[in-house]
Symmetry: C2
Subunit: 254 residues, 2 copies
């Protein structure tokens, strides 16, 4: 059973993340394969590699790692990921299928948010969920997953007027905008369950989320960064890969 | 230049709508072609017809009319609409491309709402738009179009708790849930611009929207049903068809 990760970057955080996925994969019997195309890779190079992996029966899951080289648009290359192996829901076709209720893998980070809320018994039905961030990898697909759970969903972003007022109304607040400590205690109400999805590097080589730690003193609960959705995301990528292999009839562990 | 409409219903309102589109098409030199498959059509029948029309160089636009026969799911047959001829944005692939910023036709009704607001000079940037309804033909794609315009977007629906409170916060409120006169004066604030997209048949053979006429006395503006987005939707379907024909190099009017 194989999981292929395509990279086209020399970003250190990305390299760390790729190692952590391949290590986790190995622990459950999935062979991780990293295709490093380098920072000079073109859209054509990346698409060719994705098509090749789609045709390879030994590859059950395909992940296109970001960041991509300058000028390469993620959506334009992700269309080359075979939809049935698109374990991180990156192909726009997967997005459309997900949003319209057909079978598809959701982007793992977006799904991780919902799985985390489920695990902690957070009721979403009829509740107001506020998602801060409108990326195609987290904010937008997460809105659809929350709608499927019958939440009322608000999508806020960098252009939102009166952000603190908007987020304060959320029973659930998910921060996925990529701005360090944007969401403070002033942004959340006392019943809010807050999930941090942001990952912002600090000058000292550390990592902080989009949510200020001061939120813990006010909100009902906080899933922090580091921790929280990160490990769940990795687990979902592996679960999706196993799903593909099982559909393909491959023996687990082979 | 040709526009094909596939039907599988004996619904009177649908037949009226199909006639109105073919008539409008004829007026601008587009040959309307209606393929009536009847209420006994299966998913396979409908998909076969859609594929056939996709292969037909004389057909530039394909519309799959609803309602569909019992047991036929729109999303499962719409995948057979050739994406490049999908002038009503019904194929899930078109949805995914739209949501991720790639070129695709939006569902015409959703796009009509934004065009109507644009025509009247309604500023959407940073404003709070509340969409009531989460259908794949209107509510969900409209949310993406409004996000593209930098609105903060809330999607409410039948399971939303405290609907009047949620909608009252909207600078723009769009009703697309299919419940006659659900949105009353109590649901909207004094600055709200309200767009009615609902079409609900009355026992007397008439048509009412999702918005109660009493809203006119409170909101800043109302686009009513009948009228409003309906004619704009038809115009967009024709514009999309012309776009396809021009891309294909067909002479307009031929």
């Amino acid at each position: 059973m194989g999981l292929a990760i395509v990279t086209a970057t020399d970003d250190e955080a990305s390299a760390w993340y790729v190692r952590s996925i391949t290590k986790a994969a190995a622990a459950v019997g999935i062979a991780g394969r990293v295709e490093e195309l380098g920072v000079t890779a073109t859209e054509s190079d990346i698409r060719s590699m994705l098509v090749k992996l789609g045709d390879d029966p030994g590859v059950h899951g395909i992940i296109l790692q970001t960041p991509l080289p300058d000028g390469v648009r993620s959506e334009r290359v992700s269309v080359a990921i075979a939809p049935e192996k698109d374990v991180d829901g990156a192909n726009p076709e997967s997005f459309g299928r997900l949003a319209t209720g057909l079978r598809a893998f959701a982007p793992a980070t977006a799904q991780a948010v919902v799985e985390l809320l489920d695990h902690h018994g957070i009721d979403l039905h009829g509740k107001h969920a506020v998602v801060v961030g409108r990326s195609t990898v987290v904010g937008k697909p997460l809105a659809h997953l929350l709608l499927d759970r019958h939440s009322t969903v608000t999508i806020a972003h960098s252009r939102t007027h009166g952000l603190a007022e908007v987020t304060s109304r959320g029973d659930v607040v998910v921060a996925a905008v990529g701005r360090a400590r944007l969401i403070t205690a002033d942004h959340v109400g006392p019943v809010a369950v807050v999930v941090d999805v942001g990952t912002n590097p600090t000058p000292g080589g550390g990592l902080v989320g989009d949510v200020d730690p001061g939120v813990t003193g006010k909100a009902a609960a906080l899933s922090p960064v580091p921790g929280g959705v990160g490990p769940v995301t990795t687990a979902l990528l592996l679960r999706h890969t196993v799903d593909v292999a099982e559909r393909a009839g491959a023996a687990v562990g082979s």
